[in-house]
Subunit: 173 residues, 2 copies
């Protein structure tokens, strides 16, 4: 199938948001989506963008059942490690179900990897859910290592009341 | 014990790097440190800093056995979630062993939490090693949730040859 991978533009944000919702449903967490395409536009396309994004686009004649030509995306941002310097984190990699198995996910992931190399970053990181074996199989087939099972890294979060309480305890100086 | 928490300056990078090494030794991964204080200076104090940092400083009369007055640090950066918008990731939180149990780690963590709230971010995330129960106990006592054990998020990485190979597969368009 013909497709292109290109940097996202502000006008792609409605499609990216639509697919973000599809991904959240796939991840069984649709209630976790708290922002809209307007925030994506503002956050990704200001003077200091908070993320970068590639979209996968197919020609009109290959559009989806519902008429979409933007059928996948990869959303990433720069991170930092005091041990290794700048790096890249892949927040989302998504391809609509009817377009899977055609190399689009692979092309999106590889495009992000070229950014990692061009920016002389040492690694590309991401998180995946333990029950999501199709995604795990895909990433492992491309050479990913699981730092949770192999090294023991666990992801922790402070949010809600715990975060509020923590902030209130801060020294004033 | 008297101490202050303040934003790091370029001239603190030698001390931050020293403590980064101490932390890597504690984490049993000293070989993972690939950058020096010069990179920290460049990366953290340019026009578009790649990270932010707080240092904990004690008065001269309380200095460490080796004569250090900068005895802890918290290094963090901004991240993004397509579901929740901007957020903060705490890369390192460290207090020198002889200064632990005096509220310095708590003050550093709380200072970062104030940034999270001021910037209207929804969460503060970090990773911790599964064998590092002292750090886990500290974070859990402050209300952190383990997203690996509770939700199933695993951290994956592409680096070295796998990353090189991935980048070479990218479509040229």
């Amino acid at each position: 199938m013909d497709f292109i991978i290109r940097a996202a533009k502000p006008e792609d944000c409605k499609d990216v948001f639509r697919m973000t919702m599809e991904l959240a449903v796939y991840d069984k967490m649709p209630d976790q989506v708290k922002i809209s395409h307007k925030e994506l536009e503002k956050d990704g396309f200001s003077a200091n963008p908070l993320f970068q994004c590639f979209v996968a686009e197919v020609p009109e004649e290959c559009r989806s059942k519902e008429g979409y030509t933007k059928v996948g995306y990869a959303l990433y941002f720069y991170t930092y490690s005091s041990w290794k310097g700048q790096s890249v984190y892949l927040d989302d990699l998504y391809v609509m179900p009817e377009f899977r198995g055609k190399g689009i996910g692979n092309a999106l992931l590889s495009k992000v990897a070229t950014v990692v190399k061009e920016q002389q970053c040492v690694h590309l990181r991401l998180t995946v859910l333990d029950w999501n074996t199709p995604s795990q199989d895909f990433y492992f087939s491309k050479g990913a290592r699981d730092l949770t099972t192999s090294v023991g890294w666990h992801l922790l979060t402070f949010d809600g009341e715990a975060l509020d309480k923590l902030a209130k305890e801060a020294p004033k100086n």
